[in-house]
Symmetry: D2
Subunit: 359 residues, 4 copies
């Protein structure tokens, strides 16, 4: 193997640069050249490349973001293209393959979440030698125990809870923190346990508003005049729907965050007459320096992806199972979400601790 390419797709996630660095450094040990593709699959279509030398990855380990840029929109199989002055959706995947082959790329390492890995799988089916590297702060990917970025996001949320705690206590308030997790409640669950939350509400367990209010009052009766609630953005009241704001075009509005947290706050204040405040953590969870665990995991993924490429084990994704990095077929990893089951051990621990889970 003489040359491989790497791209990052989907939402920002702490540890992307650590993966890229590990790919470049371990490739260097093997005498392999690394081509960086800018802005995910957009750069693959538009031949927006950058040679990645050791000097390019020096000092990037602690940095959030991705030096390659990313986007969660462009798909070479359905790419907006000007054809005779008209914007059309065109399949440009073969172009991507011939372009990469044209510059001698023998393997494509795609770092991404469900969306980008699905595209990577399509390319694999078309014969492009592809290795996937799982990325999502939400930790909801099926084939791996943990995804990098998740632990940093949990830390960020836990630090926010530590801050809110003292305010809640001083003011005798209910403080609500809305965290990421549209379909799975991993961040809310882990951060809630780590941050000493009294109530944790996740998409997997529709919450009963009256029971949440009763829990607040019970605490007040015990002399605890404040409470901390963590709620995942995708949580819903029993019988209710996910709160999403839609913009004029009918798409989910990415600017107006905080739907469900604000709704819960209003509902609770009416039901309990306790002062309630809401904070939406939002993009703060995606950015910043990856913590030590994520740096180690991201580095291991990068090294393992180069190994897989060297061994010609294409169409796979690297994954963590127990303490080991393994390879799983890309097809197994995508299109399914890992949710918080009722027998999840951290959920059981939360319940035994007396944390109210909404039901």
């Amino acid at each position: 193997m003489h040359k491989l390419a790497v791209l990052t797709g989907g939402g920002d996630c702490p540890g992307l640069n650590a993966v890229i660095r590990a790919i470049v450094k371990s490739s260097y040990q093997e005498g392999i050249e690394v081509i960086g593709i800018r802005d995910g699959f957009r750069g693959a279509v538009e031949e927006d490349y950058k040679l990645l030398k050791l000097s390019n990855v020096s000092g990037i380990l602690p940095r959030g973001g991705t030096l390659l840029g990313t986007t969660n929109r462009d798909n070479p199989f359905a790419y907006p293209t000007l054809v005779e002055g008209q914007l059309q959706i065109v399949d440009r995947s073969e172009e991507v393959i011939s372009q990469l082959q044209g510059i001698g790329v023998e393997a494509l390492l795609a770092i991404g979440g469900d969306g980008s890995l699905s595209i990577a799988l399509e390319f694999a089916k078309q014969g492009l030698p592809v290795i996937g590297i799982p990325k999502t702060i939400d930790n909801d990917l099926m084939a791996t125990d943990v995804t990098f970025g998740f632990q940093t996001a949990v830390s960020t949320a836990q630090e926010a809870l530590d801050r809110l705690h003292t305010t809640a206590e001083s003011h005798h308030r209910v403080m609500i923190l809305e965290v990421m997790g549209r379909y799975a409640g991993w961040i809310a669950l882990y951060a809630g346990v780590a941050g000493g939350a009294d109530v944790i509400l996740i998409p997997e367990i529709p919450y009963q508003l009256s029971k949440v209010a009763a829990a607040m009052k019970k605490r007040a009766n015990l002399g605890k005049k404040f409470s901390i609630i963590v709620i995942a953005e995708g949580a819903t009241p029993l019988g209710g729907e996910m709160v999403v704001e839609r913009n004029l075009l009918g798409r989910i509005d990415p600017i107006k965050l905080g739907g469900i947290g604000a709704k819960l706050g209003e509902d609770l204040e009416i039901l309990t007459a306790m002062e309630t405040r809401v904070t939406v953590l939002g993009h703060l969870q995606r950015g910043g320096s990856p913590n030590a665990s994520d740096r180690v995991l991201a580095t291991r993924y990068g090294v393992a992806a180069v190994e897989a490429a060297l061994e010609g084990d294409f169409g796979t994704m690297v994954a963590l199972q127990g303490q080991k990095i393994v390879r799983v077929p890309l097809a197994e990893a995508v299109n399914k979400l890992k949710k918080v089951n009722q027998d999840e051990p951290v959920l059981s621990a939360a319940r035994k601790l007396g944390i109210m889970m909404g039901d």
Copy 2:
């Protein structure tokens, strides 16, 4: 002097515990007993006291919040009271004075912002020996160069900007951070300079939306495909009004934060067609461990307030001027706000750096 009392009023602020600790520790050196009053002036009316011994303040220096509790609602001069079964607003200030005198309190140290210090001033006029200690994370108090809590709030906002930076850069987005500052833009200005913002919008300078959009586009033309904007919650577009959401009772709704940031985000996305995201820092700015500067400042205020009490210099507030703690009349400190003037040196520095200030 044998006994003094201390209370904390108004919003939570990093460093409150550091002031209380300094009062108790320096009083101990002088043989003075300290009575803590719970939940601000509410506790003063309702005789909710707690003797503060050395052991009570052990280990509280790093902790956010206030061990005494606080409230920003209760005023003894207009206190909701049940009179013959009817809720009435009653002046109970004399009760407070006689109760404190009854247990031998010779001085009241009131830690608070504009609201609590105004009440303290009223008590001073009625003859209660009062010393004020200025508290606001907004840094908008007139008679002191810096208030404790401000620098921690700026740090929190700057750390948020660091996080948003990598996401903005990776996604080529405009990221907007809304910070506290309803009437004065100190947090936005300092955090913006410290966090490398491209645009800083403060209440003192109504912003021209078209110029902000033009600045984004100019950056894009220079190859900078992302931008960071810090906006104070009280900022307004030129000719526009402060964005506040009102609840059913017509009061400003404390739950629905983020009015102006979200508005700016929508406006900009329409004008520039650049992807825009908004984060509202909210209560995260109030909580958490005070940083070293605020701990030193808060400690100095506490020591200085006990000194002022010992010297019988009542009706005053301790304040920082240059490197020194001085005393100023309480009357000078309240009812006026320190705003960011056009000749403020940090504002000038921001402009010379090329930061867009909205005008």
Copy 3:
């Protein structure tokens, strides 16, 4: 079950308070009373108890240390005791058992490392119903995948490496960081990978000084005029011995830290003529707030230990295997150390990244 007791033994470790809190909170849910024993087994001999109510563990989750106090010296089976005016070493284990039974304690939860758990095992053999909870920042306990405190220690070391990196680069220096790990190199290995070290030296791989010096020079030839080395306190040069300073009584001197780091620094400066600086992280690794991962793990251990007690599964230790908490016989956990093997995956990854491991 109506009453259990808990103690913490051995060196300080982030997460001890989180375990205690989880024990008290989950016991409360089960209607069990919890007795805290002060300062490890000393308090068990001397009946130094404290009833732990919910209010005692409120707010302790983020705090380092242990509210019960700890010591790594006292052993009830060989306890220094005044007998007829003479200090003698006496077996007072039966006293401990009868005292605990006298107050109705039905189970003892012992949180500790190798030393304290060995004592716990002896008590189990004598019939005291004991559950062990593993604690060591060194991560070198045999029967569990990870111990709480380890990840916080790794984070602390990684943050130190981040700081040293910029100084090394600015000054073109070799910076050496000595971290904990007398017999096993887990902290050095993980922190080194997470902190971007160029060289990692661990007790399991005696280092060849000439090769380390050659690696520095090779980097300099590649234009990298600085290097970062992480060394475990128990690392040794090939053929050399562990560097320990002994005090007048011949015991290892706990004050004079930093033996091997300083030795390596001197040796390297002579061999390479490159400016070299040494930092010994020391006790900073033990203290401070546990990070989110350790809080979750410690909480799960506490909950699981109460479960084990409820089920009467005594003589066991709770342990993490994969993502699950299991129980293992206490006898399996003690007297063996988990070292970094040559086939440890993180070690392999480090080598493939080009990190010099001393050999």
Copy 4:
């Protein structure tokens, strides 16, 4: 003005990159080109230059260190030079001036401490248009209220104290932290107050060992079985000398840190029989991301230095006095140290708080 040059000299200090960035960004606004000189005055002699464009300073605000490199050794007025095969010390200052003039540099901005600014002053006397920018984490420069880097160093030391606190309390130990400050105790004083130290020992107040030991015992008698001591590296016992280790060449050994802290630890353990542990913070104080205060201050210095250059006000140094940046003659800034006087307000506050200052 069309072109200026900038260099960084002396020890690493958080905020150097922030100054460089501010110089480049405000120069860009004025249409001025900025030449960066590598490794302080070494690069000035050896014409090691680098054009600094906006893109070079993008993203460096949060980064520790200096992108230009630094050294605290080379002096163009006495520069080691090979002359006919012999190493001689040669005055190469005129070369530096003609080289800078040769490439059109109209002003040199020198960021440095006492040493570098002294060299800058010599250049000013020779007619080179020079502006100085004060840099020292020790805060011991005469003409300015605060130097950038100091507040970050204090924060680092305070965070270390927070960590040591919980260990000290859990183990009932005396924990000693040795911080920087060879001649002035500013870091020790501020960090000690911010970190809740019981004893602070600084070079300006020789400490009486017996009194320190007595203070430990007095605390123990009050039931406080632990103590925290901060000691500046240049502190000395009354009648004793500064502890420095000298290497084979008789120079102060920069590797063997921790002289006085370890000495105090041994002395105290013997005198009090209390367990004592020592941590030497060392280089951790110099590195890492500057905090918000230092970023604002460093940025203001950079902007002000460009202003001074534009106005032709050479031979001066920018300085902070109160809330304002002023200019002082370079000659006033160098060769004098600002020490902690007996009437220093923070020292008085420390004493009134009951902190033991060694005397």
